[in-house]
């Protein structure tokens, strides 16, 4: 028994290190990708100066952020103020532990994987609140208030859109959900549950505060919302966690609806990564295409459209299963 625990511990620690590296690497790739795609959509080259085709731009950005002065606003509770970015980042790392990247590439295979991800991503709101409250800035406060109402509201349709898949597969285990789907695209849940997928995707955008739902940090209204006052690494951590949550959302979407690591010919992590990045690219595409919605519109979309539709979808699914 003594052998068993340390091995699990070792796996967990190695896994944590690996996920940290994965998060960092993804952030680097995504920063570059986001800027390049934005450039493509804007009909401009995007980053081009640092390294060939600007490939070193994310590193330059990172270096700049590390080199910036760490600044705490006057009268702020500095402990909580600096705790907030960490609270935002830490749960993201945990979530990656349960994601099955490939048939043999999963750090912890647990029966409650999906619940774990849902639980830990919810903690992010708390970070947002603390950041907004301790910044001693009215814009931050408004941003935090928006963030709370937004994520509390959108968590409901998100859960409701995930439920049909759980009913279909009868498990919370992400690995099992992935293997429940076939290798070919028409065997994926996106075919049987298109509405759930759309709702899930919209909610994922809203939960990760991505445009057109980036209201907590709407720069034309609230300057930068909850992270107005953050500089240097504090801002970098928020930035990093935003990308991390984007990746998590894309991962969950890929597993639940697109068959995870299953794919034509040979299953493997390459299919998974490809699907994740397709979803991420769609997110980036949407961000650079649409204007921002208004706050009341955002909540109306949630309460008047997404929740009833999700419930309807759930009921239909249940009816079909029962029959």
């Amino acid at each position: 028994m003594i052998e068993a625990i340390p091995i699990q511990l070792v796996i967990m620690l190695v896994g944590l290190a690996a996920t940290m590296a994965f998060v960092g690497l993804n952030a680097i790739v995504l920063v570059y990708l986001e800027r390049k795609v934005a450039g493509f959509i804007h009909r401009r080259p995007g980053p081009y100066e640092v390294g060939p085709h600007g490939i070193l731009q994310p590193f330059a950005d990172g270096l700049k952020l590390v080199g910036k002065q760490i600044f705490t606003p006057k009268g702020a509770d500095s402990f909580l103020y600096w705790l907030a970015p960490m609270i935002s980042m830490a749960p993201a790392v945990v979530c990656f532990l349960v994601i099955p990247f490939g048939p043999h590439l999963q750090i912890i295979n647990t029966n409650v994987g999906l619940v774990l991800i849902l639980a830990f991503t919810g903690v992010n709101v708390l970070a947002l609140c603390i950041a907004g409250w301790t910044s001693q800035n009215k814009y931050s406060l408004l941003g935090a208030a928006r963030g709370v109402s937004q994520s509390v509201a959108y968590e409901i349709p998100l859960l409701l859109s995930v439920l049909p898949i759980i009913f279909l597969t009868g498990t919370f285990n992400l690995f099992d959900i992935a293997t429940n789907q076939g290798s070919w695209p028409w065997q994926w849940f996106v075919v049987t549950q298109p509405l759930a997928f759309i709702i899930f995707f919209i909610c994922a955008l809203a939960e990760t505060n991505r445009a057109p739902f980036d209201l907590p940090e709407a720069e034309s209204e609230l300057t930068a919302g909850f992270h107005t006052e953050y500089s240097g690494m504090g801002f970098a951590l928020f930035f990093l966690s935003e990308y991390a949550y984007m990746v998590i959302a894309a991962c969950v979407g890929a597993i639940l609806f697109l068959g995870g690591f299953k794919g034509p010919i040979v299953d493997g992590w390459w299919w998974f990564l490809a699907k994740v990045y397709i979803l991420l690219l769609i997110m980036i595409w949407i961000r650079w295409t649409f204007p921002r919605v208004r706050f009341d519109q955002l909540l109306n979309i949630c309460w008047k459209w997404l929740i009833p539709l999700a419930i309807l979808n759930l009921l239909i699914t249940l009816l079909v299963i029962a029959l």
Binding site: K138, L142, P212, S220, F290, P291
Partner: protein
């Protein structure tokens, strides 16, 4: 951790003079002068209830340069570049208002070719101004991409203008009795090309942006301004035409050769931000129509009156000269005592009057809508502050 911000007395002069309503559950928010959506250095003190605006008060003067005093100490030709610095987006219209006022007082005639050149360049400048407004407005609404497309078109127009005027933004092209340099065939052909290109681009803009669902939800029925509100505040330009009143100085007080062109005055009865948006989009197309007609009918002749005085010295008296700028009626009240500089030059900035109605219109709206309204007024702060 005292966040009772109503009791905060650390604010500056204007924050202390701001009289909030007698409510206890509101917050005072200082928006600007470095806020991203106040376009430069406008500052607005807001009293908000949640995200609803109870009272809004703009604070001006952060980029005030006392252009009116400069007019009194500089000679007339020295003052020529100044009007362009007030409204850097539609610099030529301001320049025109200035030379127009002096010409009217002196009774100076402008050769026909110069009038046509003025019309062409001023309309090109108007398109440029509206394009930047379009991009910046959508930026306010959270769409980043359109401004890049707008700059694509702007660059071409600025290149065309640079060759004849010598500058890209704050043009000083008009002189008393004409313009500073003649246009050539290359200018004409490039302008024609750009007009043809713009027509295609407008179709794309319509499909990509104007018909976007989220955009429509953000601008329709937002910031409704009635004609009477416009009248009480003296709002003109697209703000007024977006309320359905067809009032355009080019038609109402025809100056130069505008009465020879066939163009419409777009007006929309919706009175909302969408109306103002559509007016500007249509106006660019009308400008292209004017430019094409002017290019077709471009007469030969002098580009400046041969007897135009080097040092203008208008006789004593006063005139008022108004032109239609991209933001509305630009007026100059020039009083001369017969000296070599103006006795008094009063600049009427359209943005000044347009902004003054913001306090009334923004009452009871959300902050997001206020940003949308502010953007739809098309503010250029240097013009307002002068």
């Amino acid at each position: 951790m005292n966040l009772d911000l109503r009791l905060d007395t650390s604010g500056d002069f204007y924050a202390q003079k701001f009289q909030p309503t007698k409510r206890e559950d509101t917050l005072i928010l200082n928006m600007g002068p470095q806020h991203p959506s106040t376009h430069g250095v406008l500052r607005i003190i807001l009293e908000i209830d949640g995200e609803y605006i109870v009272r809004a008060q703009p604070v001006l003067g952060y980029i005030h340069r006392m252009h009116e005093k400069m007019a009194e100490v500089m000679s007339y030709p020295q003052y020529l570049p100044n009007p362009a610095r007030t409204d850097y987006l539609h610099a030529l219209a301001w320049g025109w208002a200035h030379v127009g006022a002096v010409e009217r007082l002196m009774g100076l005639e402008v050769p026909e070719r110069a009038e046509f050149i003025r019309v062409i360049t001023c309309e090109l400048n108007r398109i440029n101004s509206h394009l930047l407004w379009w991009g910046a407005y959508l930026l306010d609404l959270g769409a980043f991409t359109p401004i890049m497309y707008a700059f694509d078109d702007r660059e071409i127009i600025m290149d065309i203008m640079q060759r004849v005027t010598g500058s890209r933004l704050t043009y000083c092209y008009y002189r008393f009795g004409g313009v500073s340099g003649d246009i050539d065939d290359r200018f004409v052909s490039e302008t024609r090309e750009q007009c043809a290109r713009m027509k295609e681009r407008f179709k794309m803009y319509k499909a990509l942006v104007t018909e976007n669902f989220i955009l429509r939800k953000r601008v329709e029925e937002i910031g409704e301004i009635s004609v009477d509100t416009c009248r009480r505040y003296g709002a003109t330009g697209p703000v007024l035409r977006g309320s359905g009143q067809e009032y355009d100085v080019r038609r109402a007080e025809p100056y130069s050769v505008y009465d020879r062109f066939d163009f419409n005055i777009p007006a929309y009865n919706d009175c909302d931000a969408m109306g103002r948006y559509l007016v500007r989009m249509d106006e660019m197309q009308e400008s292209i129509k004017i430019i094409e007609q002017a290019l077709d009918a471009l007469p030969e002749g002098d580009f400046i009156h041969p007897k135009a005085p080097k040092r203008a010295k208008p006789p004593a008296g006063d005139v008022y000269f108004a032109v239609e700028g991209a933001r509305g009626k630009i007026g100059m009240h020039l009083v001369s005592d017969g000296g070599k500089s103006a006795y008094r030059l009063k600049l009427r900035a359209p943005g000044f009057s347009n902004l003054s109605l913001f306090g009334e219109v923004s009452q009871g709206t959300l902050i997001s809508d206020a940003v949308s309204i502010l953007g739809s007024l098309d503010l250029v702060i240097p013009e307002i502050d002068r």
